[in-house]
């Protein structure tokens, strides 16, 4: 427990000390939130209704997808994992602790958004706080899990950027953050259901913000929960200690199994 706490403490401080992580954890999400808060309600007044969940989801996407994978790949390439293995640091700590510390940073950032959004932008707060926290929790789990999985299976930093952007960019465009899901063409809507952001926005709207969900909100919660658990499980299974990948147990293509919950969810939760 003592070792876990020292590891957690170091990783948490790294999230502020490292300029790239500071940017992804705090500066980028909060800067974007202020920008959107000042501009978007002027252009599109209904945006104010979804400002809080949209900016919380954006913060999660930024800190996890853009913040978690690259340090994992860099550490593996620099022999840090080998050093950790020799000193008895388990794989599960290597995978979980960066995710947990990022989650803690996101709790702080989301808290700042929740406190300031009504004051600065007259944005409504959640009507059901318990459901808000539940959706927030499963979205954190899903995005942190996917990010850790990307860090585990990416061969190098360039591939990390590619995989992260494959999730991040469509999430911004189709995930319901900027444009409501119901305005999307049918095909784009189906494509959007592959993204955690779409499920999070759907669940926030239907369960926490007092709006209407475009498809089953509890279905979205289940999809996010299962995606998160599955991606952490796959990351643990596919984890390797060194850059030669000689210790990997399965093919990296197994990572695509993470899409199973969203694909099943498309048919189960209309």
């Amino acid at each position: 427990m003592n070792a876990f706490l020292h590891h957690f403490s170091f990783e948490f401080r790294t999230g502020v000390r490292n300029k790239q992580l500071l940017l992804m954890n705090y500066l980028f999400p909060l800067g974007f939130y202020l920008l959107m808060g000042f501009i978007m309600p002027q252009i599109n007044p209904p945006f104010r209704e979804t400002l809080v969940p949209a900016m919380v989801v954006f913060a999660i996407l930024s800190a996890t997808l853009l913040g978690i994978p690259d340090p994992l790949v860099t550490a593996r390439e620099n022999g840090v994992f080998r050093s950790y293995k020799i000193n008895g640091i388990p794989a599960v700590s290597i995978l979980l602790i960066p995710a947990l510390t990022t989650i803690l940073h996101l709790v702080i950032v989301s808290g700042l958004i929740l406190v300031t959004a009504p004051l600065l932008f007259q944005a409504p707060l959640p009507q059901n706080w318990l459901n808000f926290l539940a959706v927030f929790g499963v979205m954190l789990l899903a995005c942190a899990g996917i990010s850790v999985l990307i860090g585990v299976v990416s061969a190098n930093s360039r591939m990390t950027v590619l995989w992260s952007q494959i999730v991040f960019v469509p999430s911004m465009l189709l995930g319901g953050l900027m444009m409501p899901y119901n305005l999307l063409p049918k095909f784009a809507g189906k494509l959007a259901q592959l993204l955690p952001a779409t499920h999070a926005m759907n669940a926030f709207s239907g369960l926490a913000m007092g709006g209407t969900a475009d498809f089953s909100p509890w279905g979205s919660v289940i999809v996010l929960l299962v995606t998160g658990l599955l991606s952490f499980g796959l990351a643990w299974y596919l984890f390797c200690w060194d850059s030669r990948n000689t210790t990997r147990r399965g093919s990296v293509w197994m990572a695509f199994l993470v899409l199973v919950p969203v694909l099943v969810g498309m048919f189960l939760f209309e």
């Binding site: 590891h7 050093s83 020799i86 008895g88 200690w241 000689t246």
Partner: protein, 306 residues
């Protein structure tokens, strides 16, 4: 070398697909000795170390480290060994103080902050790893490797990239560890370092252990050519086809003529007699026995006789 065997390697092979990294080597390391593992790049040194450290499993053969099978009993092994990897192996933003707390916590021992002081890092306790100089980084990694008082220490190129002062400091530290009973396995390209520190040396080439012994034994078993460098006042030896007894090769460099002899006595006395007989006088004469580096180059076939 007397002493209890602490590392035993028997018929150890490691292959990566069709590539043979280590090809059936056997040797023993005794408690308290410094064992130098030498070889050119790709010889199999790092693979051998990684299998001994439990980072990889051997393809065949047996490895015993302090009575443990490294691959199967890794969780016990990690408290017995300390490792300084070739790469730094620490996160860039970690501070020496954090690293010491962090690694000691995972080993279940109290943090040994005094080691940071002993390694000259007291003023850098709160500096981030990437802000430390190469020498400070190496010293920190060494401090972490010995913080849990391991019986065996693996050092992979410990002084690579260090300045002279830092190398001397690290060598002193290694000698202190040896005197305290720690067994050290040293993989290095630096022949002078290996000859200076090691009780015994093993030279690997293309996955095989081609020779093993004390540095003295290894240098004595080569072609045995002693280098005699001579410079005279009048240059009577230069550009002459004089053949001295027992000389197998000779060459000129600057104002020196260099002879490689199998019998120092007869060659030296013949040179002196010749110089005196030609109304010349000696300015400088140096007799150098073959170094470990000469022997290494001879074994690996990588260099010409200088």
């Amino acid at each position: 070398m007397s002493g209890t065997p602490i590392i035993e390697i028997r018929d150890f092979c490691k292959t990566y697909g069709k590539d043979v990294a280590v090809d059936g080597i056997s040797f023993t390391v005794h408690t308290g000795e410094i064992f130098g593992l030498l070889g050119p790049n790709g010889a199999g040194k790092t693979t051998t170390l990684e299998c001994l450290e439990g980072l990889r499993s051997p393809t065949s053969g047996t490895l015993q480290v302090a009575g443990l099978n490294p691959a199967a009993e890794f969780h016990k092994l990690r408290n017995v060994i300390g490792v300084q990897l070739q790469s730094a192996g620490l996160p860039e933003s970690i501070t020496p103080e954090e690293a010491m707390r962090f690694f000691c916590a995972y080993h279940g021992v109290a943090p040994r902050m005094e080691l940071l002081e002993e390694m000259g890092l007291q003023d850098k306790r709160k500096a981030q790893f990437y802000d430390l100089s190469a020498g400070q980084q190496r010293r920190l990694v060494l401090a972490l490797a010995i913080a849990h008082s391991p019986k065996i220490l693996f050092l992979d190129e410990p002084t690579a990239g260090l300045d002279v002062a830092s190398r001397v400091e690290l060598h002193d530290r290694m000698r202190k560890l040896k005197s305290s009973g720690t067994t050290i396995i040293l993989a290095t390209h630096d022949m002078a370092e290996a000859a200076d520190l090691s009780d015994r040396v093993g030279i690997m080439l293309r996955g095989k252990l081609v020779t093993i012994g004390t540095p003295l034994e290894i240098t004595a078993t080569g072609a045995g050519l002693t280098r005699i460098s001579v410079r005279t006042q009048g240059g009577s030896l230069l550009s002459r086809d004089v053949i001295f007894p027992a000389v197998q090769k000779q060459m000129e460099r600057d104002e020196y003529i260099i002879y490689y002899s199998v019998d120092i006595g007869s060659t030296v006395s013949a040179i002196i007699e010749y110089v005196n007989g030609h109304q010349d006088s000696l300015v400088d004469m140096r007799v150098e026995r073959p170094s470990l580096e000469d022997r290494f180059l001879e074994i690996t076939g990588a260099g010409d006789t200088r």
